[in-house]
């Protein structure tokens, strides 16, 4: 049931450019988010995506606009790649009215109906059944969309994960479950939390396909994900895809990148496989990218993130009257008007 792919370089200039853009945008965005957090412009919990950029960029490049994406509280990167504007994400982090959920959700709860981005969810594992439900709805309507559900590797130990994947396998629902295995659930290493560490092998228990891929190799991620998405779309076969990656920062802004639960040496070793560095090197080796082109892209993205910061800084706080808005939605009176 398991498949494993190595990167097979193909020359597609537009795609290469998009993947590089999406990864670098996330990196530059998250660096500034960390800065804003330190300055007190962002409050609460703030979980950064630095190091994992190839996962979101590679997997989402295999999706159609009408597919669905749902993820965890480490959601800035997924939101940006899915197409929520950096301004709207940064304004949300700043708790401002122009944020993508108007200051109601913050770092952990990005949503955007326009791009079928079903959230940013804060309880570990709880969004996995929701993804199964989206898959159920797709099948119910006879559509050919796919739902992609991202999760950290600690999610596989929750009951919600088991219950949700069992039903997806039982009913053949078009969902791709992507484990972003960054090796640490907060500060607990995967081998201290899961009885098996090849997490994709859990797919066997649900009669779905298991696959693993190197999460620092964006082309390999894309290729493996494309197969999984096709399988869901055309055969309604769910996949549990384990993407092995690394976060170069702490679990949230409240813990150091190394020193407590992982060593500096381990962190430095992983940084040698920085997904952006690897992809840039690959593109240069095949003659698809010059230093000047890279620099130009980087300058543009730094400017875009600065623009997002300025926009967020100037956006007003949400009006106080919005405090009581959106607790319940008004049911249209014609729905209650009889048959």
């Amino acid at each position: 049931m398991a498949t494993k792919k190595k990167s097979t370089p193909k020359s597609d200039a537009a795609l290469d450019r998009k993947l590089l853009h999406d990864m670098l945008l996330q990196r530059r965005f998250e660096e500034r988010a960390a800065e804003a957090y330190a300055l007190g412009k962002i409050g609460g919990f703030c979980h950064l995506y630095i190091g994992q950029e190839a996962v979101s960029a590679g997997t989402q490049s295999a999706l159609r606009p009408d597919d669905y994406v749902i993820t965890t509280y480490r959601d800035h990167g997924q939101a940006l790649v899915r197409g929520i504007a950096p301004r709207a994400v940064m304004a949300e982090l700043f708790g401002r009215v122009d944020g993508c959920v108007h200051g109601k959700g913050g770092s952990m709860h990005m949503f955007d109906r326009n791009v079928n981005f079903l959230g940013g969810h804060g309880i570990v594992g709880a969004h996995v059944p929701l993804a199964t439900g989206v898959g159920f709805a797709i099948k119910y309507r006879g559509g050919d969309q796919v739902c992609v559900c991202y999760m950290g590797e600690s999610v596989v130990n929750t009951g919600a994960f088991h219950e949700a994947l069992n039903m997806a396998g039982l009913w053949k629902l078009p969902v791709v479950y992507v484990i972003e295995n960054n090796r640490y659930g907060m500060g607990t290493a995967v081998e201290r939390a899961s009885a098996i560490t090849d997490l994709f092998k859990r797919a066997e228990a649900y009669n779905i396909v298991g696959a693993e891929v190197d999460g620092q190799d964006v082309l390999a991620v894309r290729e493996t994900m494309t197969e999984a998405v096709d399988r869901a779309r055309t055969e309604q076969v769910p996949t549990l895809l384990e993407v092995r990656t690394f976060r170069y920062v702490g679990h949230s802004m409240s813990d150091a990148a190394s020193g407590t639960y992982r060593s500096k040496a381990e962190l430095e070793e992983s940084e040698k496989r920085d997904p952006i560095v690897l992809f840039r090197r690959h593109l240069q080796e095949i003659g698809a990218l010059t230093d000047a082109e890279y620099q130009k892209l980087d300058d543009e993205l730094r400017a875009a993130v600065q623009d997002a910061w300025d926009f967020a800084d100037q956006s007003p706080e949400p009006p106080l009257e919005t405090l009581f808005e959106d607790v319940l939605v008004e049911t249209p009176s014609d729905a209650m008007a009889g048959v």
């Binding site: 669905y68 749902i70 944020g99 993508c100 959920v101 108007h102 200051g103 109601k104 959700g105 709860h109 949503f111 955007d112 109906r113 079903l118 959230g119 940013g120 969810h121 804060g122 309880i123 709880a126 969004h127 996995v128 059944p129 929701l130 993804a131 199964t132 439900g133 989206v134 898959g135 159920f136 709805a137 797709i138 099948k139 119910y140 309507r141 009951g159 919600a160 219950e163 949700a164 069992n166 039903m167 039982l170 808005e325 959106d326 607790v327 319940l328 939605v329 008004e330 049911t331 249209p332 729905a335 209650m336 009889g338 048959v339």
Partner: protein, 326 residues
Amino acid sequence: MPVITYRDALHDALREEMQRDDRVFLMGEEVAEYNGAYKVSKGLLAEFGEMRVVDTPITELGFAGLGVGAAMVGLRPIIEFMTWNFALLALDQVVNSAAKTLYMSGGQYNVPIVFRGPNGAALQLSAQHSQSWESWLAHIPGLKVVTPGTPYDAKGLLKSAIRDDNPVCFLEGEMLYNTKGEVPDEEYLVPIGKADLKREGDACSIITNGKMVLTAMQAADQLARDGIHVDVVDLRTVRPMDVEAIARSVQKTNRAVVLEEGWEIAGIGAQVVDYIQRDCFDWLDAPVVRVHQADVPMPYAKNLERAAKPDVPKTIAAVRKVMYLD
């Protein structure tokens, strides 16, 4: 007017709403081939097929969450819990996913879902199968909580709940399924959030909901034989609560007994008493008295169970107490 059971009233509501709207589906344990643990869904599989009447594994957290996800993208799930006791396993999905997604998403994703099933104690099922959860659920902004006590209300409220664009927790009474009442043939809805004055009197107000409506009505009958005529205010919905109906009755009778099936601490009755002290302070002739389950897990032995449950004699004693008759 036809007289049917509470069970058939619920069944008819499900069937009519599934005929009306093909986005509506029913999911839960034993709802399809078994025709429902309490036969509420009898015949629905044959009529609507396996995509719309779905048997699940025993996996409350999973299928409650599945329902929320399906609702977010446009379906209208009815999630049946075999009993609300088992819904505790799913409470994270009810509270953290269903109730909060509209707010967290800045108004972008509403969750039109009904969670339904029997609530409260039946007979001699002991501690883990005999619990009333309405006060837990009513605590949560973003939920509506409905507790019908009669067949008429059960049908009209379930149809409203299914059409509501918000998550609705619909708490039925296991001991009510066989009770009968008048239910019209023609279509009707009972609005969520409106209490019903089930009986009129002037001596005292009994404010109650759900299964205890029956108890209150029986107590009122007995009290009437002694010339004591009471209002019975059936809240029907405990969130939102019809505060005006409570005030109207208590300002008329000047005395109140609050009767609920669940425990005392932070119960529904505590909230009702708060509304009374806010809105009726100057009208009260006596402190409000509450009737509720004893503050213990439900025991098995018949005599202990009887002692633990709110009932007609306890309700009558409470009315006599607020009237200073004993």
